[in-house]
């Protein structure tokens, strides 16, 4: 055993939703430095406090100090006390790896980051960042195009147009700017950037190198995999990068097809439909499930279809697979063979100018050398426990090996990766941390935006059925919000799913102006465990869009008798 810090690693996986199990684990193994990421019920917090109070964990308070002390020595002489090159090596410098590196440095860990491509990963270079630049353009274009809307505000725009290259440059410039910001921040903090493809060669050992150079090997006390994902292209689809392409190429906006088919109607597909329709394209969605936008709360999805699909130059085929997609060649358009998702019978044949494959993303974990530590990926994803520690073939946690972000597939969002990274660093430094994924918001940056946190209504109802509680839903419309009306953007809905018996927020879904910015009040409340009966007294500036959530909280009917403040001390 290696002292208090690593002791906590051997603590078996703790299920947050199961306090009883936690108690057993806690008693059996010293729950060194266990700190939960709030939002488990009052009962759980109670347990933790109790342990601390009883004094079973003498190292609890000191563990963080201890961690710092060790590392202070490291930074002094440039190597870890135990003979490792680094305290932490992160494989992959995307948003997840970057977030982890920053937090690691803050915690005093000597950190290196291995990157085989460009700093910033998918998000910065081929994802959220450049797409936001395009969406900023599409938002303005949609506004300029809705003459009625402008007219009702007394505005007259005689002419509007765009320059494709200018739009593409805006996206590209933004990506390079963010990339250099990211690179500089890593350098400024003294994180070593090791260039090359990282491969795990054994416990606490990583090699890296580029093709044609000799691989170098480094040792690290802990290794963090953050290799992310690549666009997933189903079999039968031939991507030529010109007429059939993925988001990687689409973001370069090399041309604007007159008619584009978008395969997949999730976040990526929906955002691109917003961009392409704004730039004058017509769009055809191909969705394998029976509903468009399958990941969204059904009610939000329905309204989104009404606002974002029906009035635009978009049609769709649902319940079909794109069995075969052939790029345009020899004077023929792009051809898409559709088959019924259930019966597999041929259904239709589309002929379009271009096809964007937005069928999701696949983990980028090949060549990571996981076999050297007896880990098998599942459909490419690296199996991890709830603290992001990698699990080997036998179901045991691999010591000193963690995996975050798209590579573990728990929640494929840039900010989720970053949060997981921070959580891992906390754990490494002896303060076991479990991230509550239900408090991680997600957003789709269409116009208007869609955002959500927690459970959808069907998920909440299923959970309620199982656990025997009641679920209530409160809704408010953007039509009732002064600021939204002033902006002439009254379309939209906010929906709160909650437990009336204790005021717990189970999920919040927003479709409307600046929904992506509005969701954080709800996600923070979930993360902090704030109950509706408390948050409803919080004051919102008038008139602001945030009053949509204010209305929502006030509309909720909580039957819990007493309003308790979350931070109130609990008697032992």
């Amino acid at each position: 055993m290696q002292g208090s810090i690593s002791l906590s690693f051997s603590t078996p996986a703790i299920s947050r939703s199961d306090p009883a199990r936690f108690l057993v684990a806690g008693v059996g193994v010293t729950p060194e430095g266990v700190s939960f990421s709030r939002l488990q019920g009052q009962a759980l917090r109670f347990c933790v406090r109790k342990f601390a109070g009883v004094g079973r964990s003498p190292h609890l308070v000191s563990s963080r100090k201890l961690c710092k002390k060790t590392l202070a020595a490291v930074t002094d002489n440039g190597s870890t006390g135990k003979g490792f090159d680094y305290d932490l090596v992160i494989i992959g410098a995307g948003v997840g790896g970057h977030g982890a590196a920053l937090h690691a440095v803050e915690k005093g860990l000597k950190t290196a980051i291995i990157e085989g491509d460009v700093i910033g990963g998918t998000c910065v270079n081929r994802g959220c960042v450049p797409s936001k630049a395009l969406l900023a353009v599409s938002g303005r274009m949609h506004e300029l195009q809705s003459e009625d809307h402008l007219k009702s505000m007394g505005l007259q725009v005689l002419n509007h147009s765009y320059d494709r290259q200018g739009v593409a440059d805006h996206a590209n410039n933004l990506a390079s700017k963010i990339r250099s910001n990211l690179t500089n921040s890593l350098k400024a903090l003294g994180v070593d950037i090791l260039t090359g493809v990282g491969t795990i060669v054994g416990t606490q050992k990583v090699k890296y190198g580029k093709v044609g150079t000799v691989d170098k090997e480094v040792t690290a006390k802990d290794i963090l995999i953050a290799t992310g994902s690549v666009p997933f292209v189903p079999n039968g689809i031939e991507v030529d990068g010109k007429t059939v392409f993925t988001s990687d190429q689409a973001l370069k906006l090399e041309w604007v097809p007159e008619w584009i088919a978008i395969v997949g109607s999730g976040y990526i597909g929906l955002e691109f439909s917003d961009v392409y329709t704004a730039l004058g394209s017509e769009v055809t969605f191909v969705e394998a499930l029976d509903q468009l936008m399958p990941g969204f709360d059904p009610e939000i999805g329905k309204l989104a279809q009404r606002i974002l699909i029906n009035p635009r130059k978009i049609d769709f085929h649902t319940g079909v697979f794109a069995k075969k997609i052939t790029p345009a060649r020899e004077g023929k358009p792009v051809q898409i063979e559709l088959i019924d998702a259930k019966t597999k019978e041929p259904k239709d044949m589309l002929e379009v100018d271009a096809a964007l494959i937005a069928t999701g993303r696949a983990p980028f974990t090949k060549g990571l050398g996981l076999e050297s530590v007896n880990v098998t990926t599942q459909r490419g994803f690296v199996p991890v426990d709830e603290r992001m520690q990698v699990i080997d073939t036998n179901g045991n946690p691999v010591p000193h090996l963690y995996c975050i972000g798209d590579a573990n597939g728990k929640m494929m969002l840039a900010h989720a990766a970053s949060a997981q990274g921070i959580s891992v660093i906390e754990t490494i430094c002896g303060k076991v941390h479990v991230l509550n994924h239900l408090s991680i918001p997600a957003a789709c940056f269409t116009h208007p935006e869609i955002s959500m946190v927690g459970l959808t209504e069907p998920q909440a109802r299923e959970k309620a059925e199982k656990e025997g509680f009641e679920v209530f839903v409160a809704k408010t419309s953007f039509k009732a919000n002064t600021k939204a009306l002033a902006e002439n953007e009254g379309e939209g809905l906010a929906k709160l799913i909650y437990r009336p018996d204790n005021g717990e927020i189970l999920g919040v879904h927003i479709l409307g102006l600046h929904a992506a910015d509005l969701i954080h009040e709800a996600s923070n409340a979930i993360a902090m465990g704030t109950r509706i009966q408390d948050i409803k007294f919080a004051v919102h500036a008038h008139p602001t869009l945030s009053e949509v959530l204010d209305e929502l909280f006030k509309a909720a009917k909580v039957t819990a008798g007493i309003s308790r403040s979350v931070d109130e001390p609990v008697a032992v």
Binding site: D163, Q165, V256, L279, K313
Partner: protein, 482 residues
């Protein structure tokens, strides 16, 4: 929240009646509501000639202050089978968007008020048929008001689209069994304007049907199709998609916009007029004028005015009687190769109506007497006003009459509507000094008529002879009462 839509009798009483505010659907236990709604509609059915099993779907009153509602979207499409309790349409009131659901099983036969349009509370927005058999009937009913809106100046063949392209799939067998390819927006437009997309010839890339093709087929001026500029900056690349059709359309009239001008898009009727007027340019026309002494006509008019006979009817009758003697003027040239002689003499009369123009037709004007014609005319005008003319009542004309005399216009020149051989423009009857054959000057009421005709089939002598006959009939107006 889903609300049951108002059907039949329930909706007519809706405003102000709390039971009918449809909040009752929240407590579905109220037994009165469904049963009440099951009553077949009676009150309106008489005028609309709808049998009991076709139900009108009404704009429901979603709140006590709601006077009209906007159709946000139709969740169901025409032809969809509905079962009780399903959401059918989303309605936006002054307060919120609500799903409206049906109390009946049936088939959504026709959408009367399309998405994005507004209807007053209680107005029919769609038709629900009980069985397949009634769908066609319901459709016909739904179409009558719709078609009168799209009515053209005259009897142009109902849709030039419908006729020609049927053959096209056959004429291009080289393409194999190629199916129709239409872009998403083209499909949307076709649905919106009730254009059969299968009959539209695609001009887009790879022969696909583009939105412009559909607009053309529907007789609408293409709206500016994409966000790209009229005066494009030089940097606009191939990606900035201006569709070629739009470019062509914009090309001839590249005049700079006058600052402060307001652009008001055509109504459907205006668009149809515009389309017909452009079409008329392909016909070689000429004009022949003729002075007619109208004293006898004016005298007759004074006599029969009290019996409800109008000048329009007298002129139509006179023209019809003249046409009977000159069938070629009542003919038309359909293919550029032959005369089409019409067996009936149907006089279309141009009527200005609320920013548009429509031509109700007095059928068999030569055979009916002026009193019957007057009665018919009255009916036609009131139908035109309420936009309820059946297609046959405005597109079956064989000759058109246009009279601006009541405004004091002394003479004018009419455009020949496509599909007809001739049109007569009638000026005011004015007292004029006339030199008689006996050498005496007299003052007579002179009326100038001017006929525009298709010179492919009607020649100068034909028109001259016709006008001579017409003039004689007017001068001996008593014959009109026979």
């Amino acid at each position: 929240m889903a609300l049951p839509f108002a059907t039949s009798s329930s909706a007519t009483a809706a405003p102000g009646n709390p039971l009918l505010s449809f909040s009752s659907s929240i407590s579905p236990s109220i037994p009165a509501l469904p049963s009440r709604c099951l009553l077949p509609r009676r009150s309106h059915s008489r005028t609309a000639t709808v049998r009991a099993k076709i139900r009108e779907i009404f704009m429901p009153a979603l709140s006590s202050t709601m006077t009209e509602g906007k159709i946000v979207s139709w969740i169901k499409s025409e032809g969809d089978r509905l079962s009780k309790g399903e959401s059918v349409v989303v309605v936006e009131s002054d307060k919120a968007d609500m799903d409206v659901e049906t109390f009946y099983d049936g088939i959504l036969a026709a959408i009367v008020v399309p998405e994005g349009e507004v209807a007053p509370v209680g107005a029919p927005i769609g038709l629900l048929a009980e069985t397949e058999d009634e769908v066609a009937l319901a459709k016909a009913k739904a179409q009558s008001p719709a078609q009168s809106r799209t009515a053209a100046v005259s009897a142009s063949p109902p849709s030039p689209v419908a006729a020609a392209p049927v053959a096209s799939p056959l004429t291009v067998p080289a393409e194999g069994s190629r199916k129709l390819v239409a872009t998403p927006y083209a499909k949307k437009l076709a649905k919106q304007h009730k254009v059969d997309i299968g009959s539209v010839t695609g001009t887009g890339p790879f022969g696909r049907v583009t939105p412009q093709d559909v607009e053309l087929a529907a007789g609408i001026q293409p709206k500016k199709p994409s966000p790209t500029p009229v005066a494009a900056p030089p940097s606009v690349s191939k990606g900035a998609a201006v569709t070629p059709v739009a470019e062509k359309a914009a090309a001839p009239a590249a005049l700079p916009p006058i600052p402060g001008s307001t652009v008001v898009p055509f109504t459907t009727m205006q668009a149809a007029v515009s389309k017909n007027m452009l079409e008329s340019l392909s016909v070689p026309t000429f004009r022949v004028g003729y002075p007619v002494i109208a004293n006898a006509l004016d005298a007759l008019y004074e006599k029969v005015k009290s019996k409800g006979v109008t000048m329009t009817v007298l002129l139509a009758k006179a023209a019809a009687m003249a046409l009977a003697q000159h069938p070629v003027v009542n003919a038309s040239c359909k293919d550029g190769k032959s005369f089409s002689y019409n067996s009936n003499i149907n006089i279309a009369v141009a009527v200005a109506i609320d920013g548009g123009l429509i031509t109700p037709v007095l059928q068999d004007a030569d055979k009916l007497d002026i009193y019957l014609l007057s009665q018919k005319w009255k009916e036609l005008v009131s139908k035109a006003r309420s936009k309820q003319l059946q297609p046959k009542e405005y597109n079956s004309g064989t000759f058109t009459l246009s009279n601006l005399g009541m405004f004091g216009v002394d003479r004018f020149d009419a455009i020949l509507p496509p599909g007809q051989g001739a049109i007569m423009a009638v000026g005011a009857s004015k007292p004029t000094v006339v030199a008689g054959a006996d050498g005496f000057f007299t003052v007579k009421n002179k009326m100038l008529v001017n006929v525009t005709a298709d010179h492919r089939i009607i020649y100068g002598a034909d028109l001259a002879a016709f006008l001579q006959t017409f003039s004689k009939i007017i001068e001996n107006s008593d014959n009109l009462t026979l």
